[in-house]
Symmetry: none
Subunit: 401 residues, 2 copies
């Protein structure tokens, strides 16, 4: 039996409220064996209080040893099996620039490249043009019109852009046109099934038109496309859990991921203070609140241990304002670890707090990687966290008589 | 590969003996955060000794956050995936009154209701009649005869009874006739497939006859039926594990669940002392013994913390008598938690002891929710406990060369 079917069977209406605070990449590592992690170094009296009053554990985002991107990391936290629900690169890129993808769309990541007079690729990234030039080139591509399809072209950064093809019955089983090497011509698109053949035909005509439009613009005189993807079929949080869900996230990627599972994506301003103000102002209107905090991840990716410590302490300070609202369940976790030492996402489990009146408390009194190992939730799969949230919010009935 | 197929491949004959003592709802919660649970409050020198000599851990009955009923809770302990093997309400009700269901039966829960002169339901529970009246009304229903089907009607309590239809090739995909509201007439039964259409036809004729028989008996002048269910196809403990299994349980529901998986259900008397005497008297005849103790659950459901503590202490006293028999594996666990504080089954993991010469002992020296968190079995799925039992009883060979 699938978990979502089980939830559909057991869920019960309730007025309880759940807050899931995702500190992106919160898990870390000591710089030296035996040392403290970023989280253990940070002074976090408020998070420690939550850990002491609640139940803790270690979240495994996907599987032991698997390092997740932001997509699978968040899908798992929202209770969607990250190995079942996959989000293609094109869709993730579109979500990342806040493009409102529809079910009729095929999205793809584009790169400007440099083509020689023989049509072969001389530079796969067109000499890394400025983002201004990217915007200007995208503007030219926007002039391309093809019958039977709406085409949206959006700049991302430097040589990167996104194309969205909108038409009925088009598929995403189309190969990348990027050969991932220089000295060869870009590949033709081919479709692996009928809807995808329709897409491939559109794509090839678009690429031909693009090369004409850009012919005088070397080094940005060609394009390659990769990661054709449709919007995945995915039940909304309301359909799966019966939760009216709101996302309070600053960065487009996380807003997009929240929109993907049907959350209402609210204006979150720019700062943690703005996010808390929004949470307070809409408290009565939703059952579930996803708060996303980016800076624990970005400082980790920068390899800046002290900055990550500082960002954790900054997060700690706003915890009392969330607690003051009286959520029935308050979860603090991350979508993955981002140890400063590794300057990247990692596969390490993520220390997690679940604060609730129904929590069976454990002996853990601080929020950290070493302490949460001894928590009452043990090691658990991130995709089960929503089951725990629903249970502790008294929103799941008994299974079987 | 399915676990039962794996076991069939690996199991080895042996004379070892396994005792599984299920203290129903043993897991609890502190009344106040930071306090002790019922189990931690109880003085349990014998259970603590078992914990010290054996290996401990936390059992997850179904999935994190899922609160099981007695059916799924026990099926999991017996090693049957509770999400795969589901027991319908009709069957559970029949098991609960000790009715010997066969594979030809469709069982259903019945309610006496009050019908107005317009045939509409005026009271779904017929004003909660006395159980004596229930018995008298059931006696009238027993007079109903229909061709091609044997019908058994059994009283349960107040307005509740059970009907079992026994015939060849009848199905259970039949809707409830209970509309779950007043002011409307009971629903007609309809079958979703051919065998179930046959059932529905029998059911509709039975209901018509019942209303005639009861027409002068307002307020118990009508019936509704819900939870049509057949006996699930399920391998016996002997087929799956090669274990000759005996159940020593006092309450009908648990006797019925044991019969469901092919255990021999023995006369267990009324008290724990009776159960131990039975265990001693049949010790040489079986490989596996399921002992069920109800009062840790019923006191929890009553919200009576001190009574649950007392029932745990009572259980502790008989442990030496089980140990004296020299079982190769002695497991103490529960089918779920029933915290007095919640007055209900809960989703919290269940502290578990596995006592065996082959146990790799851990540092745990007391039986409790906090201590067993540190046990050598970690957090494990209840449906894997029989694998552990078989392994520690040296009844499973090596997998692969």
């Amino acid at each position: 039996m699938k978990i979502h079917d089980l939830i559909a069977e057991l869920r019960e209406p309730s007025k309880t409220k759940i807050v899931m605070l995702v500190a992106d990449g919160i898990g870390g590592m000591p710089l030296e064996p035996g040392g403290k992690t970023e989280l253990e170094t940070a002074r976090t009296p408020n998070l420690d209080k939550l850990a002491a009053e609640g139940v803790t554990g270690m979240s495994l985002p996907v599987l032991p040893g698997i390092t997740p991107g932001s997509g699978p990391g968040h899908l798992a936290l929202f209770g969607y099996d990250p190995l079942e629900y996959r989000i293609g690169r094109g869709i993730l890129e579109a979500l990342g620039i806040n493009f409102a993808v529809t079910s009729r769309d095929v999205a793809v990541r584009g790169n400007f490249c440099t083509l020689g007079i023989d049509g072969k690729i001389a530079d796969r990234r067109a000499g890394r043009p400025s983002t201004e030039r990217c915007v200007a080139m995208v503007d030219k591509l926007r002039g391309i019109r093809l019958p039977g399809v709406e085409i949206f072209v959006e700049p991302v950064k430097e040589h990167r852009f996104v194309v969205v093809f909108r038409a009925d019955a088009i598929g995403d089983r189309v190969n990348d046109t990027d050969p991932q090497m220089v000295g060869v011509v870009p590949l033709l698109a081919e479709g692996a099934d009928e809807p995808s053949k329709k897409t491939a035909d559109i794509v090839n005509r678009f690429v031909t038109a693009a090369c004409e439009v850009l012919s005088a613009d070397a080094p940005t005189n060609g394009i390659t496309l990769r990661g054709f993807a449709k919007y995945p079929k995915i039940g909304t949080m309301e359909e799966v859990y019966g939760l009216k869900a709101a996302a309070i996230a600053v960065y487009p990627m996380y807003r997009g991921l929240a929109r993907l599972v049907g959350m209402n994506v609210l204006d979150a301003g720019q700062t943690l203070g703005d996010q808390i103000a929004r949470l307070q102002s809409v408290w009565g209107q939703y059952d579930f609140f996803f708060l996303h905090y980016k800076y624990t991840d970005s400082t980790g990716e920068d390899g800046n241990f002290p900055a990550k410590v500082e960002m954790i302490e900054k997060l700690d300070k706003i915890i009392p304002e969330i607690v003051a609202l009286g959520p029935d369940v308050l979860i603090v976790t991350g979508d993955h670890s981002t140890p400063s030492k590794m300057m990247a996402h990692s596969f390490h489990p993520v220390p997690t707090i679940l604060h609730s009146k129904l929590a069976r408390t454990d002996a853990v009194t601080t929020y950290g990687e070493a302490s949460c190992l001894f928590g009452g939730l043990g090691h658990f799969q991130a995709q089960h966290l929503m089951l725990l949230a629903m249970a502790h919010a008294a929103r799941l009935g008994k299974y079987g008589a």
